[in-house]
Symmetry: C2
Amino acid sequence: MERIPILQMGDLLLVTIQVDMHDQLALTLQDDLTEKIRNTSARGVLIDISALDIVDSFIGRMIATISSLARIMDATTVVVGMQPAVAITLVELGLTLSGVRTALNVERGMKLLQRTDEDEAAS
Amino acid sequence: MERIPILQMGDLLLVTIQVDMHDQLALTLQDDLTEKIRNTSARGVLIDISALDIVDSFIGRMIATISSLARIMDATTVVVGMQPAVAITLVELGLTLSGVRTALNVERGMKLLQRTDEDEAAS
């Protein structure tokens, strides 16, 4: 069965989206991800969308859902690698991914998550 | 144009193969990867094949080529996340990926590459 792999790196999970998403694939990803957050006690989820030339409202909603799911399981989601053209289209369409954190690339996303963890530990 | 994203993490590059490979995609990946090794001075390349249910001789040869390309550019390639069924098939077919390093998952692959670096620094 087709599914998107979720890679574990320390207490972070990395999901690279390369293929066209459809309903079933999005649902499988949500199931797999929540299961994996529980099994690995992950604190952060990185979603890499650098391979996507188009982000439509379906993908936008999927990212928002994943982000909400992760949040109630005490993990932070960061979307990384967005192409400039995708950012322009999203803003033009009014899809501003509110409530979802973004970072330029995987490295910056990892730093952002580490910083978030430290802030929480300090407070 | 369809292409497989290459993620940079420190001095490592991570390639997640999720889609069916064909000639053009494999060539594009080789081009992109060599270019990226040069631009980022990467020391290691991780190829995650956990999403692949089947690894045929075409994929096997592609991995061997990437590994050789990386080697002459002074980077080490590690294949990670191979499914048990894939390993069984590869050995039964006599495709033992000789000369290619493997690790169980991304985390172990990263550790393997760090150890290789330290060994080289020590010698």
